[in-house]
Amino acid sequence: MSENSESKPYINFLQAESKHKGIFKWILSTDHKRIGIMYMTGMMAFLLVGITLGFLMKLEMLTPGKTIMDAQTYNAFFTLHGVIMIFLFIIPGLPAVFGNFMLPLQIGARDVAFPRLNLLSWWLYVVGGIFAIASLFLQGGPIDTGWTFYVPYSLRTGTNVSLPLFAAFILGFSSILTGINFVTTVHRLRAPGMTFFKMPLFVWAIYSTAWIQVIATPVVGITIILVIVERAFSLGIFDPALGGDPLLFQHLFWIYSHPAVYIMILPAMGAVSEIIPTFAKRTIFGYKAIAFSSLAIAFIGYFVWAHHMFTTGISDTSRFIFSLLTFLVAIPSGVKVFNWVATLYKGSITPGAPLLFVMMFIFLFSIGGLTGLVLGSLATNVHVHDTYFVVAHFHYVMFGGTVMIFFAALHYWLPKMFGRMYNEKVAKWSIALIFIGFNMLYFTMFILGYEGQPRRYWDYLPQFQTLQIISTVGSWILISGILLMFGNLHRSIKRGAKAEANPWGGKTLEWTIPSPPPVHNFDEIPVITHGPYNYGEEEAK
């Protein structure tokens, strides 16, 4: 489809009027596209706060002993950094922004199944965010338990624990509602002819993720309530002094929080499966294998949680079982990586910024994934547990994995969302800075951890200083890259060159409508007759 003709001026969803005025046009809008952008705005703000805290922590680690803050402040900082990054940024993550914006477009629908529920999800997200921030300024001071809220410390500390926990509870609700919405949308609103195996792989990924959101999140909700109640009334569920079981907390916490890492990574993998065919101009290799591996990862992901508890004194039987199950997750993950690489093989590749982010993702995520196996093995886990090795590992998978693809998706879908192009040259410079900075910052942490630097420590032994300095300088380079990238994106949204409907030559449905899309997406609901990535060559029949 081409841009609309000049005769009737084309109104897109950004300009459209509604019965509300001013900011209410946005914050009361049930348009999935506006809700996606509102999530994006909120999450960007939290990301910048999180990055600032990370920057300050690294500055503290420049020298042994006190550099810029005292120990208690450091404790609060790593907790806030973790809570913000996890609950307010990466868990809503790609589904909240790109799932909301692209899912209906990619399946040929006019909106999600429950638009008002969708708006409620966003409002719950905002309320959760406000509670989390409010807790910093109330009596008792900012929470210092680490983002994992382990008992018994979280029951005993005098800092504000209940309010941020309640915030996490509300954010969980937001996530559950989004999940319900997306599952229903995929089942009910696919365009005629779009069978499950004609859906784009991003839709498959969002669908698998939505299931995890619905099934796993209630567990953490209940756990959080139990901690709050136990703090208030000394019930003795978790507190060993009262006859409770502290390991029960860890079980419950990780029964949610391990599947949650798949809430983070699966949608990112889905976006990778969109970007690679578009930039290699080839049909995705192994469509069904990728689709099923999403489901397999979502499924196995439920049954590995106790790999976070190998050193806590859980039974040997369960250590063995959970180690084995953990290794199984590597199989569907490997299936995906090999299929992506095979898609690139003999493709006609355009190395645009989204694809470069994807290449960076494959590199960083592989390092993160393989070091995950080091952590999943019982023997090596004992050595590196709770050291910087773990900190390096999860930054490689979450930051190097999910966040890099979040950045890739921002570049890939920016033209569709805002009708503007970003500056390719600046984008490439920012990618180079991010890549160098990231590896300096975090690869050093693998070595530090292996040599014995514990995580969540404010101080360190003098022999670690060289590596700590390299790491801190890396954080400066990384952050300059990120700021350059945001500057570029911001400028593009304001003043970038106009984007066509389909600047990359993508084949999925969102590229068949104008950029930015009209309010109701499709003038006429399309009828689907072929798979999502039909690039001419041999098509799977």
């Binding site: 439920y302 049954f303 004194g313 859980i314 039974s315 040997d316 039987t317 959970f322």
Partner: protein, 97 residues
């Protein structure tokens, strides 16, 4: 979505609802009263069994799932199977510790 069906769902009379409610109250009383008796190892199993029966009533009757389309039952079955697996895996820790 399943609006066409919901019309005939009102075949469940108020009498049934009240009856089920009484059964639920009865089961709750049972749970509370037998918690005072020392049943040893099976105490947990008994408590879970009663809870399972109660939720079956709630899901089927109050939440109308008994009268809904198959897809909803499949969804609930998946969630229940997941929950069951999680229980079993946790038991590997608790009983072998």
């Amino acid at each position: 979505m399943a609006n066409e069906h919901s019309e005939k769902n009102h075949s469940v009379g108020y009498g049934t609802y009240v009856l089920i409610w009484l059964v639920l109250v009865g089961l709750t009383v049972t749970t509370v009263s037998i918690s005072g008796i020392n049943l040893g190892n099976i105490a947990l199993a008994v408590a879970l069994l009663i809870a399972a029966v109660k939720s079956a009533f709630v899901i089927n009757i109050f939440m109308h799932i008994k009268f809904e389309e198959k897809i909803f039952k499949v969804f609930i079955a998946i969630a229940l199977m997941t929950l069951l697996s999680v229980f079993v895996l946790t038991a590997f820790d608790v009983f072998f510790r």
